[in-house]
């Protein structure tokens, strides 16, 4: 049985004005467990707190009920008071008799009666309180960044600059991501490569950063501060430590007819290749599916020409296990497939291209050395139609498109249109749009320049159909403002394809037990207040894996994620919230219901041996809660049919005792 002290605060006249505090203190004196009860003008004042501390000592109190303002106001204060008096801080309960009583009820008898009931509920709860101690866990001072695009690069640099080692895992042979494929960037029109490649070099040269290119994360175990990650380094058949990136092998390789991914398949590369000139790491990779040496054991030319002796046809996938304290997801995006958009004839005509393909067509390092030429016949196009929102904001066509706005298309299309008109003033440019969305610094000015200075024809309306006929593309569209049908014979059509999270994100989310929305974007811990954290502790979000973003937003989010990681890695130990769930193994069925509702992936299962009533032993699958990961929401406690899962600080019997006290 507890020895409970009740302390009723007047809060000046805030409480005492409508609640007879003396009557409350008197009434609660009779409650089971209560051995001392008193009232005071300001319980939270130093004098009030001293009064509590003295009472604890004088009456050997084991639990405290403070009838005062909201626990959201002073629960922390009174917990400290309890600790100062030598009590466990979690032996305190607050009866909120100010915000939820004296301030909302005007008549003294009514307020007093309710205050007594609220006090009784708090007493009933404290009777069942148990001392709680927060758990501690160590922190591995190393971060993992998954994805080596601009988001991953920026996050890694910021963390590394703070002095913590960082590993980047990138599935492609080089870091750089989508930004490396871009030509110019809006709204400033500076060259993407000029601002990105120096950062890639910084990464390569940073002593705190390791790059695992051509690699994937295959397994994640553990929890915040203590992740165990398995990384698969895919065999590239080239020894990275020996390869100098000279490119001799690439020149000599006879298998030259492989679609070049970096140029969106608009030209070819050899079987052994370096994706682009500024690749980091600048080492060659053999495409095993294209190499005759690997497929048939014939050729071996690259090995012969390699002065460094870096070619190794026997290389195998390598698995690396590493510990991390924090994980940043920066898996980025891809344009959606155009296969289902038959109306735009993407698969029928080479001259219907996506915006990312257009980027390559206008890039000096691209397949046309930056000359805008039609893919079909290499001629200069004189009439170009840009179609916006292809698959974006497409509620009615959910099976092929996306309901959301892809956010970046309006601006890059304006950029494309403007650059085309700038370089090739003889070209007519049409842009079909639903809305033009330009919120952002200098964005609207940029768009208006495209229209007003460069004479781009913006037409509100959607393209209904594109039919290739001879060497023109018959574009049928509607102009919603003048309300008429348009027929344009275009030489080139550029589709602003919606963007979607990279396909690797979903399996990764499963490994990380990080939650995703229905579009496979990672969910943030709080949409407003914790935008760069996943609900899973220790997992952070950077860039477009969380939602469509342009470069400046990505970089700022990357920095924010880095600062959160740094904040975590700075700590030697993590102190948990002690009000967390725990499973009674004797009653646990191992059914996984709790695991399914846990937003944090805090629940794991293991087979344990139990002694059964008939003196035999039995192996049973039982749940355990990781105290470092559980946030104490209690979702699991209700999902559990047997009641094996309970929440410390808000236990079933405590809440029922409160219900009973209120209802009697």
């Amino acid at each position: 049985m507890q020895r409970i002290g009740v302390f009723v605060c007047w809060c000046g006249s805030n409480i005492a004005g409508t609640v007879d505090v003396k009557a409350v203190a008197e009434a609660l004196k009779a409650e089971p467990g209560v051995v001392y009860s008193t009232d005071y003008q300001y319980m939270c004042s130093q004098a009030g707190q001293n009064l509590i501390i003295d009472a604890v000592k004088e009456h050997n109190l084991t639990g405290l009920v403070i009838c005062s303002c909201s626990p959201r106001m002073h629960e922390a204060t009174f917990r400290k008071t309890a600790a100062a008096a030598g009590l466990n801080p979690y032996m305190v309960e607050i009866a909120n008799i100010r915000e939820q009583c004296s301030w909302v009820h005007k008549e003294m008898p009514v307020g007093t009666e309710k205050a007594i009931i609220l006090g009784k509920a708090a007493v009933a709860k404290v009777n069942l309180n148990t001392p709680l101690t927060p758990g501690e866990s160590p922190v591995t001072k190393r971060a993992l960044v998954i994805g080596g695009g601009i988001a991953g690069i920026q996050t890694a640099l910021d963390i590394a600059d703070a002095g913590f080692p960082v590993d980047i895992v990138e599935t492609k042979p080089t870091i750089g991501g989508k930004m490396a494929q871009l030509d110019k960037t809006f709204p400033t029109l500076d060259c993407a490569a000029c601002i990105l490649t120096p950062k890639m070099v910084d990464v390569a040269q940073h002593e705190k950063i390791r790059i695992f290119s051509y690699s994937e994360v295959t397994d994640v175990k553990g929890f915040v501060g203590n992740f165990d990650v398995t990384i698969k380094k895919k065999a590239r058949f080239v020894d990275e430590t020996k390869c100098t990136g000279c490119g001799d092998c690439v020149d000599k390789c006879p298998m030259k007819k492989n679609p070049n991914e970096f140029n969106m398949g608009m030209d070819n590369r050899s079987a052994i290749y370096i994706p682009f000139a500024q690749a980091v790491p600048k080492v060659a990779t053999i495409d095993a599916g294209a190499c005759t040496m690997l497929k048939k054991g014939k050729c071996g030319l690259c090995s012969k020409v390699c002065g460094a002796g870096a070619i190794d046809y026997t290389q195998k996938d390598e698995f690396i296990e590493e510990k991390y304290g924090a994980i940043v997801v920066a898996t980025g995006f891809n344009p959606i497939s155009m296969d289902k958009f038959d109306e735009y004839a993407y698969n029928q005509s080479k001259d219907v291209i996506t915006s990312l393909e257009f980027e390559r067509l206008t890039n000096a390092a691209g397949p046309t050395q930056g000359k805008l030429l039609r893919p079909s016949d290499g001629k200069h196009p004189h009439k170009i139609v840009f179609v916006q929102c292809v698959g974006s904001r497409c509620a009615a066509c959910a099976e092929k498109g996306k309901e959301y706005c892809s956010k970046i298309c309006c601006m890059y299309t304006a950029k494309h249109a403007m650059l085309t008109r700038d370089k090739y003033p003889d070209t007519e440019v049409y842009v079909f749009y639903i809305d033009v969305r330009t919120p952002g610094k200098n964005f609207d000015e940029f768009y208006r320049r495209a229209v007003e200075e460069y004479g781009v024809n913006y037409i509100k309306g959607m393209v209904g159909k594109i039919v290739p006929e001879g060497d023109v593309l018959k574009v049928q569209a509607s102009d919603l403002i003048s309300n008429k049908q348009l027929h344009i014979d275009a030489d080139l059509v550029v589709l602003a394809a919606a963007i979607e999270p990279d396909k690797s994100a979903r399996p990764l989310a499963t490994m990380l037990t990080a939650s995703m929305d229905t579009n496979d974007f990672f969910t943030e811990a709080h949409p407003k207040l914790r935008p760069v954290e996943s609900p899973t502790a220790g997992v952070f979000l950077s860039g477009a894996c969380q939602g469509p973003k342009d470069i400046p937003e990505t970089v700022s989010q990357a920095g924010a994620a880095a600062s959160k990681v740094i904040g975590l890695l700075c700590k030697d130990k993590l102190t948990g919230n002690p009000c967390i769930a725990s499973a009674n193994e004797m009653m646990c069925n191992g059914c996984s219901s709790c695991e399914r509702v846990c937003p944090y992936g805090a629940i794991t299962y293991s087979d344990k041996e139990f002694r059964m009533p008939d003196r035999t032993t039995q192996i049973r699958r039982v749940a355990s809660v990781n105290p470092a990961v559980c946030q104490g929401c209690g979702a699991c406690t209700v999902a559990c049919p047997s009641g094996a899962m309970d929440l410390r600080g808000f236990a079933n019997n405590q809440i029922m005792a409160e219900v009973d006290a209120i209802c009697k």
Binding site: A30, P32, R615, D660
Partner: protein, 340 residues
């Protein structure tokens, strides 16, 4: 012997109910019968028997014993017992009448259970002879005569009439109270029916079931019989058999916290339940096998050992028809007796 035309049976019920509460089997909406309080319009069931036995009327499933009122830290003990009123149970079959004897030996021996005793004293039992036993009936195994039921008054129902004979002083009083409605009769019709029923009794599938292998003193012999392992394998551990049983007498005493005090009540317990006889040190029967054995050993060995050979099964057959997996005492007896 007193006789009444069945046409007038409701007049009899009305007369009885005038000064005593009358309970009799009444059909419920699901088709099964239950002992219910008679009121104008109540129809006496034709069912062979009720799902729940009439023991409920002496030993209800839940019964409040006393109450504690708390106010602050004060506690007041309140005896909430009400003086039992006189009542009549009508239409009790021979097996169920016998079950009262089994219960009496438990509740009326020292220390007397005053709650039970009070109800017993205030009750008049009007039994009813069986004329259409079911295949699940095996009362004869326990020496019970379904044709000549005991009770304060015995009754026989024919197609047209009902006949009464008093066995006790209470019974005489009962018959006197309905004398005006009944007429004196000889026992020709009754005897005719008895003979017919006796023929059927012989044909019952369980007529050959005997208690030869059971009785006091058999504990050691039967304790390790393989039947307990074999038959308890699929026992669900529910309480159906015990709760429909007319002789099961185990109960638990529990406190219910009302918020303003405590109601101390007792309720039936079941030896099939994992919490049965749980004590501070834990439970002394840890497996379903042990609990299963307890039920049958109690009925067939321990009880007769302590009660002069009286078995605490009356062969009513309720558990035979209600067990979810059709495991029952008859199967256990057959297996151990080895007579099949």
């Amino acid at each position: 012997m007193r006789k009444l035309s069945l046409e007038n049976i409701n007049k009899l019920f009305a007369a009885v109910a005038e000064d005593k509460t009358l309970y009799l089997p009444v059909d419920q909406s699901d088709g099964s019968a239950k002992y219910s309080k008679w009121a104008e319009g109540t129809v006496w069931s034709n069912a062979l028997n009720t799902v729940r036995s009439p023991k409920d009327l002496f030993f209800p499933q839940t019964e409040d014993l006393m109450e504690f009122k708390t106010e602050g830290k004060n506690i007041e003990v309140i005896d909430i017992r009400k003086e039992s009123e006189d009542f009549v149970i009508f239409g009790v079959r021979a097996c169920d009448v016998k079950s009262f004897e089994v219960l009496d030996r438990v509740f009326l021996s020292e220390p007397v259970d005053s709650y039970y005793a009070s109800r017993r004293e205030h009750a008049v039992i009007v039994s009813l002879a069986c004329s259409r036993p079911s295949e699940t009936c095996f009362c004869t195994t326990f020496g019970i005569d379904a044709i000549n039921p005991e009770g304060d008054v015995s009754a026989w129902k024919t197609a047209t009439d009902i006949y009464f004979k008093a066995n006790t002083e209470k019974g005489e009083e009962f018959l006197a109270s309905i004398e005006a409605l009944t007429e004196e009769s000889d026992d020709t019709a009754v005897n005719e029916q008895k003979a017919k029923t006796a023929d059927i009794m012989k044909k019952l599938p369980l007529a050959d079931l005997t208690t030869d292998s059971f009785g006091g003193g058999k504990t050691e012999e039967l304790w390790n019989n393989p039947v307990w392992d074999e038959f308890s394998q699929t026992c669900l551990g529910c309480g159906t058999c015990t709760f429909v049983c007319p002789t099961c007498q185990c109960y638990d005493i529990k406190d219910f916290d009302t918020g303003n005090g405590v109601i101390r009540y007792r309720c039936w317990d079941s030896c099939m339940y994992s919490e049965f006889t749980r004590m501070a040190h834990g439970n002394n029967r840890l497996t379903q096998k042990e609990r299963f054995r307890q039920r049958f050993m109690h009925k067939l060995v321990y009880y007769p050992e302590n009660n002069g050979g009286l078995f605490s099964c009356v062969g009513c057959g309720r558990c035979l028809s209600k067990c979810p997996i059709s495991m029952n005492i008859a199967k256990v007896m057959r297996k151990i007796g080895g007579d099949k």
